[in-house]
Structures are given as C-alpha cells and as structure tokens.
Symmetry: C2
Subunit: 206 residues, 2 copies
Amino acid sequence: MIDEKGILFVLSGPSGVGKGTVRKSLFDRATDLKYSISMTTRSIREGEKEGTDYFYKTKQEFEDLIKKNRLLEYAEYVGNYYGTPRDYVEETLDHGKDVFLEIEVQGALQVKENFPQGVFIFLFPPSLEELKNRIINRGTESEELVKNRLIAAKTEIEMMDAYDYVVVNDEIETAVQKIQSIVQSEHCKRERVAKQYKKALEADFS
Amino acid sequence: MIDEKGILFVLSGPSGVGKGTVRKSLFDRATDLKYSISMTTRSIREGEKEGTDYFYKTKQEFEDLIKKNRLLEYAEYVGNYYGTPRDYVEETLDHGKDVFLEIEVQGALQVKENFPQGVFIFLFPPSLEELKNRIINRGTESEELVKNRLIAAKTEIEMMDAYDYVVVNDEIETAVQKIQSIVQSEHCKRERVAKQYKKALEADFS
C-alpha cells in the first residue's frame, strides 16, 4: 500500500557495554535491516570483498569524500581512515530498506550532526560493576587502563541526551528484542506515515 | 533498577476499523497492560461487579466529577453518562502499570486534551473498500447509513494528525504485534528513562 523510505538506526553506547554482541545477535535473527558497510583506506585482506566487508579507497579518495561531506562520520585509526559513506546509506534508504549502524559514541554524535533524521539508540550498562567486569574480561588490561576506560564511559554516558532511546543491556535477548520493537514502532510513527496513508485512502474515496 | 511510572496508551480510530477486535486480541495474550475501567451512571446489571466492569455512580456524582475535571473524557449515551475516571488511570500509572484505553476518535481527542502525556495510537483501515465491508458486515445497516458512516470515517481519519502512531489493521495479529512494539519502545524513550538511569549509575560511581 505504502512506498515507504527506510530508516537509519544507530546503535551506540560506552565501550565495554556490549554493542558488538548485541548487533551480532540482532543480525543472527531474521531481520530486514541492512548493515551499514564502512569505507576504509586500509588494504583489502585475503577473503574480504569490496562492498561486502568494506568499500576500499585510497587516502586521496577518502580525503576528497571528507571535503565533499560524503561521510556521515569518520575517524583515523592506526594510520588508516574508517568511515560511513553517506551515499551507500542514502541509496539503501531510498530503496525502502532500513540501515543499521553500530558505532562508538563519538562517531554516533558525528552521524547525528550529519543525519539528524536517524534514530539513535543508546545501549546502557546494567550497572557500573558489570561494565567494569566486561572491560576487565576483554583482555589483560592494567588497573590504570580499566580506571581510565571507566572515566571515559562516564563521559560517554553523559552523551546519552543526544539519543532517542535507551536500552539496558542486562540480557542480550531482551536488549535485542527491544531494539526490534524500536525498529517496528518507528515505522508506525504518525509523522512518517500519515501523509502517505491519507493519500492512499483519498484515492479510494475519489 | 528503575522505579518507572506507567504509560497511558490510547487506541482509537474510525468506527468499523476493528478497534474492539484488536483490543480483545491484545488482552488475550499475556500482557502487563491494565485495561482502563470506565465510569457510568447506568444501573449495575446481574453478573457485573463494581470496579471490574464499571465504576457505578449516580448522575449527581458523575456531574460533580465532570465539574471537578476528574474525567479524562465522557459522553452521554441513551440517557446515561460514560467516562474515563482520571483517578483510576493516575493511580494505576503511579503503581508502575501501563493503562490501555480503547475509545472512539472524539473521546480520544478529549483524553489528549486532558492527558497529553498519553501515547495515542490510530488504527487505520487497510482500504476504504475494506472499511465499507466491515461497516456493512456489522449488521443490517441501510445504504444511507453506511454512506453516512463512511463520511464520518473520513472526518475521523482527518483527526489522525493528533496521534503519535498509526497502525494499519490489515491483519489482526500484525496490528497487535505492532501495538506491543509501540508499548515496549515507548518504555525505552530517552526522555522517559535517561534521568533515572543516570542517577542509578551515579550512585554506583560515588
């Protein structure tokens, strides 16, 4: 009945909160979401495919895209650029497909700046104790490093006010299910659909 | 972790769209929603219970409540008043329970006036043809009556702009599931929960 555009969903939250695990679990289920493919200047590795794992660009090409504001966000990491190409996102949305992006808090805020019509979901730790445990369990990090990451997490949690939704990651299944509900309910938002619905019905009335 | 207040959900839509069927199907499932109990001046009938089927009041009592603005909406029907008592709704929400109200469009607009913090869901017919069929199938209504009700439905659909969500009632199961998603995602809205979440975590930090 309705020719609807897709929605960009951005999942973010402090480091150690479990964004990657939740995202993997979400994509393990049947989902219509398209995962946002990043762009990078690092070399393609064996087994990787252009347009599947990454879009591979030269440094020059990447910097051109930055200048032309064709990246929703980007960062430099160990000498290489990584970013989210606006064109891929917009084309996917135009085809009526939702795009799902999982990203650090700083990146999410860049996306929000460049694409405010996105839906921003903040993954929240069940408790500070739990966040600490997850950071520690990640690897052999020193006490000093853990402390620093917790302070960073506190700052990131302050950024929560820029988000539309907050989902507590106390249980992965519950968190994933809440994200699915957010996706479904966003498609029912009156300001998104009312105009088209009315139009479809008015065609019937006439 | 969080001591959260309940949310008032209002399901409405044009007559003939299937509000009652969707509501029944929603409550047939396991749900934490509390159905809003109406107040009436009509006599209690055999088998009915005060506070379960209705809150029964005298005409004088009801009119007092109208004057004191203790009804979220009310209407007169065949010589009796029917309405939604504000106190019952607010007490239930204060206990952390969501309240669910299924009501005609005019009533929903009254509720919105008196309780704008509610979440308003508009049930939308899949097509005009389908709405017509449903109105006809309801009983032995004359062609003139069906025509009038369709004109009324068109006016009611114009009211859609006052609502937060629009759910197409093409399939009952899908519509119910969308309403459940809306209920769940509304509880994840940042403006509802961020303050409490931050507070809980700050207690951990200190």
